[in-house]
């Protein structure tokens, strides 16, 4: 089977300028993640758009447009939508998928002392090796008296 390769996009290094094409890709991903969160909450809550518009004191067509696609929302708009839909607030964390490393706050808490340490380049996000080591951390964490972030 022919597949495109998961290469060509990497973390910035040194003082090298990041292309606007790369920034365009990353920005679009970020917008989409926000959109996913909002729509998921919307579906779970069952709230109708008219009520959501009233809660936000916005015209229904404005809310309809906001929810039609992953637009370039201001941070406040994202926050307002989430809270108005279900009282939710966003949980923010940083990931480093391109450097083949997971850096989430919970990961710090679930990595027991005995877990093997590997260099960033030793495994790739989403690969079996990486998944295996994360699973191992989680398993050890469950067995150990270390709190795991929700």
């Amino acid at each position: 089977m022919s597949t495109s390769q998961t290469t060509g996009l990497s973390e910035p290094v040194g003082s090298e300028k990041i292309s606007v094409g790369t920034l365009g890709y990353i920005r679009a991903r970020h917008r989409q993640r926000q959109y996913d969160v909002v729509i998921r909450e919307l579906k779970k809550s069952g709230i109708i758009q008219a009520d959501l518009a009233r809660r936000l004191d916005k015209a229904p067509e404005v809310v309809s447009r906001l929810l039609a696609r992953p637009g370039n929302w201001e941070s406040d708009t994202f926050s307002d939508l989430l809270f108005a839909i279900s009282g939710a607030v966003a949980s923010v964390h940083a990931e480093h998928p391109l450097s083949q490393r997971v850096e989430e706050f919970p990961a710090e808490q679930i990595k027991p002392e005995s877990a093997p340490i590997r260099s960033k380049s030793a495994f790739a996000l989403g690969t079996e090796a990486n998944n295996a080591i994360i699973d191992e951390w989680k398993k050890q964490a469950q067995d150990a008296p270390i709190p795991i972030a929700a």
Partner: protein, 165 residues
């Protein structure tokens, strides 16, 4: 799939999650060429980066806003049916960056959550949209013969995690 082996179509991987994806996206060589990084430091590159992000979002199972009625689609729908509806072709609608006309890419579903994207262009490069649909139909016929795209009774039969708009 024999077409994949002959390199006439390619199964796309997510730039972030590789082949660990919730959906499948098959693309033509033309599309693969323009959505493969690096993306240039130009307006062109920015728009193609947006295009790739749309495709990766589909692959990773992200929400997709879908318009079923070609005559009454909101301008912001991410995926929309095109006329004639019975031919089962859909338009991938990349509507960002907002200061551009965006990108359109046409194709059809091969199965649920499996989309086959055959042609693409910047929206301003498509003066007559019906011609683009004709081109997609020709490309499909060239690849699959008389077997048309998947046809379903409802959106649930086409994809998961969508929002009808």
């Amino acid at each position: 799939m024999r077409l994949l082996r002959r390199h006439r179509l390619f199964e796309l991987e997510s730039l972030f999650t590789g082949n660990d994806t919730a959906r499948t996206m098959i693309v033509s060589p033309d599309i693969l060429a323009v959505v493969t990084p690096p993306f240039s430091d130009t307006e062109h590159g920015r728009r193609l980066g947006e295009f790739r992000a749309w495709l990766d979002n589909f692959l990773e199972g992200g929400e997709v806003s879908v318009a079923e009625d070609p005559q009454q689609k909101p301008p912001d729908a991410m995926l929309a049916r095109v006329t004639p509806v019975e031919d089962e072709f859909w338009s991938v609608r990349v509507t960002e960056p907002e200061d551009t006309a965006g990108i359109r890419s046409l194709g059809g579903f091969g199965a649920k959550d499996k989309f086959i994207c055959l042609i693409w262009d910047f929206r301003e490069g498509i003066p007559v949209f019906d011609d683009e649909v004709d081109a997609a139909r020709d490309a499909w016929r060239d690849l699959f013969g008389s077997r048309g795209p998947m046809s379903g009774e409802s959106l649930d039969e086409y994809l998961t995690n969508y929002r009808a708009v």
